[in-house]
């Protein structure tokens, strides 16, 4: 897609009735924001707890694998809620978002990389959990993922600075 067709798409999206409802309603916008942030609390909160346990931080009441198993389902429920809220927020001003460099960095680079790393960690978790201590690669993967989600939040907060 060329730049202009992305903007055309953004314009089309933000004129859909659901997007107009979010953008123009006095009460809807904070509720949609709260949906995004509640989903993110579950997603980022559970992801950070898992990453920190991989890094060997915190107490040892549960092994990293036990903690991961307890958090796994709500980790992804949080992700779905965050995506739903995020899509609605995006729709409300889509044409502005698609040309915002901070938004493009967030969605086009940081989130895909962080997500791939997240899924790799989740598929490796069982294998790492069998070993008496976390292997070095697990510690590194946990630290890098943690860093990437901090960068995602950084890019998100930077969006208005470029708008």
């Amino acid at each position: 897609m060329t730049d202009s067709s992305v903007v055309t798409f953004g314009n089309w999206l933000q004129h859909q009735s659901f997007a107009l409802a979010v953008a123009t309603s006095d009460w809807a916008y904070p509720f949609v924001q709260a949906t995004h942030f509640t989903g993110l609390s579950l997603w980022v909160g559970t992801t950070v707890a898992t990453d920190l346990s991989l890094m060997g931080m915190g107490n040892q009441y549960q092994s990293p694998l036990q903690l991961f198993n307890a958090l796994f389902v709500w980790n992804w429920i949080g992700f779905c809620i965050a995506v739903l809220g995020g899509f609605l927020l995006f729709s409300a001003a889509a044409a502005t978002y698609v040309i915002n460099p901070a938004f493009l960095t967030k969605l086009g680079f940081l989130i895909p990389v962080a997500l791939i790393l997240h899924i790799v960690i989740q598929t490796k978790m069982r294998e790492w959990g069998q070993q008496p201590t976390m292997p070095r690669v697990a510690r590194i993967a946990g630290s890098v993922e943690l860093l990437f989600w901090i960068l995602v939040v950084t890019a998100a907060v930077s969006i208005p600075y470029f708008g």
Binding site: Q33, A34, F37, G45, A70, G78, V153, T154, S158
Partner: protein, 161 residues
Amino acid sequence: MVSQIGEALQSNSVIITLNSVGWMAAGLEIIHYFGMFVLVGSIAMVDLRVIGIAGQQQNATKLAQRLFPWMWAGLALNFLSGFVMFAGIAASYIPDPTFHMKMWVVLAAVVFGIFVQWRVPAWDKSPTMPISAKLIATVSLLLWVGAILAGNEVPALSGLG
């Protein structure tokens, strides 16, 4: 008296610098959001475990003991960054009714969070979670979602922040 404290806070040179230098102001927001996610995510998982819809194969006390240090760390990051942002325009926040509502909801959520943390080991001793425990955990969860919503209502209704 209170408004004088507000004026004093927002004319403090450290507070002014932290809120007016671009990357520092952005840094405060990043810490505020990130701390909030860690705080709310940790307490929400314990609430969901007590309610009976998360990690049922796991011991609730151990899960709580594993997560609560991160809850406190998240609260500290969230509170400190929030205080500096509040101080930057304290005289406007202090009389604002939406900001008062946010602070009351956050205070109630913190009280319930601490109560859940305190009671989990006792609740965990019975074979199934007592119904009172599930109710308290549900209220805690709703208060935390309410705290997030109230946080969004401050700029939406009062135009502050």
